[in-house]
Symmetry: C2
Subunit: 428 residues, 2 copies
């Protein structure tokens, strides 16, 4: 079944707003088995909305239209739809009462323009929107059309709670697509695809497909399966998933589109009943921040020392002044001392550290921008540093340092010998 | 002059990639005085690319087409354009040599498909792309068409260095739009627009316009001016800018779309020759990370202590155990002690601190999720805490705490008495 998305709003055309609604809808509709053939992004203009709707109707079975439903005069979508179908308006009592009650709560006077929020074209089926004041609308004419507010959480609420129901009603025969995400780190996309996983095409029956989504420091694998039931689609994906785990298990830190490396490390720390602390120089708080983005991280993350100045490395972490002068702050010695120092001073079983030249300035012939040392200390068990050469870009260097060090930590906690990107453990 | 954008790539339709190219192009073209009337997002299909190009040609003076220029068989854009104009291909020697040299550098064998990278439709003017392997193309037929790679930095490079030149050549009479961004913090959008700035419409001559772009903890003002020369457009904006500074000066921390609050604080610290350190509990490293995202921050940012566990607050910051038990970690007392403690132990003139309940768990009747105390200490001058109640969302609470505390710090450094959102300074 073919679907098209119409995103309405001047702010999208002049670049004030990135069209994240369209990508969310694209993923949602693909997941239901629709093929999204076009996204039209257009202005709040009466004629262009009507023309675009007509074009989309001629090209597709389903149209999701978002934006331009506000109470102000520059919101044209409702008028365009009414004119398109050549119908008048009807009042939706439920919406009117709801909008009135919301205004009452906030002590805002209820105006004529607010009243119009509750009016919809006569042929519309109202999709009640308890997430906002503008109702969604469903039209089942030559083509199915859902007209939704542009506010992302209102649009998502209506898609998940109301529109998907209507879609099952009308397109009962559409299959189910099940998408699953596997997150890897510490291995490059080409190595993962060419050497580790190899050609998996003979496993791509039943519309199962695999996509590589690379990002700084990790590659996400997206598995899609298509079945007549959700369970069936899930089974197909599971079969491919098993093979991927057999071949690439040690590079996988978790599952789920937004699952983070700090969650993976946290999970292992919690299971093993141990705690971690961080000593950050070049990452400057990024790693601590990543840990503390995760709810419940206080169970295993005790804290950190951001030792941006050498003086702080000496006084707060016990780094040797001799080494700072001798081999310099960006060195194996200092990385090792920072990791051990933070673990001992904060009283954690594990301490990790970063020291490097993030850039753009500060590089030398011998230690160019992108040179990073990472330290790892586990009481009585492990104490080593790894060296990496990253890029000329400050923020990418911070991000990649975080990913490599946290993946190294995950692998040690999981009993995996191989370090990210095959980096060598360098002992003191 | 009307412009349309055509974004090509299946990844955009299934939601794997958000179409940031389109918003960047929308802003870029608007800035040059074009009216962007549509963005077409379509798949890598030969026919749909041709159809969409034909539609766009009939509707606009300029088309920017991105994506689908890779070497693989699923990249169709070049073929579609050649078929559209019914022309063959020519080889671009410069591109061929460049691609070969790039492959040599990386020791990758040069294949037939790579050769085709250097071929372009006969009627194309090549826009040499030193940022990648796929050349950009310029067509000046019934309508001007720029065909560019989808990789964002390659596309931006070609737009800024090559396409804008061509646009001046062809659309010599287009005016100039000058956009300028003013960043404010610590004041709500409605207060800023209704009470502080008021109705500025009588200053909106010469196509000068003002837009409010709200985000967590701050509102960005976008000023646009249109003139026959860049200088003229700039003058119009300057006039409005002066009025905004007169009315809202104390809420403005800087200028430029991506200028950050940590840069503003850093600038003042540098000017005053003093340094700062941070003691973070609920923000968990976010503030240190924000400081260290700024190149050269080592000149004024000395480091920080992430005291997630109470034990760390006591041992590393000298917070009183009595207070932690008595009034609790989320309290004025502890915020004050953390700020002073970090400044003294890290040896900086200024210390700032955060302690709060980020959520989702950990809330109580008396201290619900979103309760945050922020501390400020300046040796011999200031020592106070401010309390705020934020949201139920962990990440929003971290972000807003960061913005409020850094804006409070900026105002003190700038000699402004009023605290963000009129929060009260609470002394020990």
């Amino acid at each position: 079944m073919k679907a098209q998305i119409i995103s309405i709003g001047n702010e999208l055309l002049i670049g004030d707003t990135v069209n994240t609604n369209a990508s969310w809808l694209g993923e949602f509709l693909t997941g239901l088995g629709f093929t999204v053939t076009r996204v039209h992004t257009i202005s709040d203009g009466l004629q262009i909305i009507k023309d675009t709707l007509n074009q989309a109707i001629s090209e597709s079975d389903l149209i999701i239209c978002t934006g331009g439903l506000g109470p102000t005069h520059d919101d044209m979508t409702k008028k365009a739809v009414a004119e398109l179908f050549d119908v008048g308006y009807k009042l939706d009592e439920q919406t009117l009462e709801y909008v009135k009650s919301m205004f009452k709560k906030r002590n805002i006077p209820f105006s004529k323009s607010n009243y119009s929020q509750a009016e919809v074209p006569e042929n519309a089926e109202v999709l009640f929107n308890k997430a906002g004041t503008a109702p969604g609308m469903w039209f089942n004419e030559d083509c199915c059309i859902a007209v939704l507010p542009g506010v992302p959480y209102e649009m998502k609420y209506l898609m998940e709670k109301k529109v998907s129901e209507k879609l099952r009603e009308v397109f009962g025969d559409i299959g189910y697509v099940y998408s699953h995400y596997i997150k890897t780190a510490g291995i490059g996309e080409s190595t993962l695809s060419d050497e580790v996983l190899g050609d998996l095409s003979n496993h791509f029956q039943n519309g199962v497909s695999l996509a590589y989504l690379p990002a700084a420091g990790g590659v996400t694998l997206r598995l899609n399966g298509h079945g007549s039931t959700k369970e069936e689609a899930k089974q197909y994906v599971q079969a491919l998933k098993d093979i991927i785990y057999q071949k690439a298990g040690k590079y996988i830190y978790g599952e789920g589109k937004d699952y983070s490396i700090s969650e993976a490390v946290g999970k292992l720390l919690k299971e093993q009943g141990i705690r971690i602390s961080v000593a950050e120089s070049c990452t400057g708080g990024l790693i601590a921040n990543t840990f503390t983005d995760v709810p419940g991280s206080s169970n295993y993350f005790k804290g950190g020392i951001i030792s941006y100045a050498n003086e702080v490395k000496v006084n707060q972490l016990g780094v040797s002044e001799k080494d700072l002068v001798g081999v310099g702050a960006v060195s194996k010695e200092v990385a090792l001392q920072m990791a051990k120092g933070v673990a001992e001073r904060l009283g954690t079983e594990i301490g990790i550290s970063t020291t490097g030249i993030a850039g753009p300035g500060g590089g030398t012939e011998e230690k160019p921008v992108g040179t990073v040392w990472m330290g790892f200390y586990k009481k009585g068990e492990e104490h080593f540093a790894i060296k990496a050469m990253f890029t000329k870009d400050r923020l990418i260097n911070k991000e990649r340092t975080k990913m490599v060090l946290l993946e190294a930590t995950r692998r040690i906690l999981a009993g995996i010998e191989e370090m990210p990107y095959d980096l060598k453990k360098q002992l003191s």
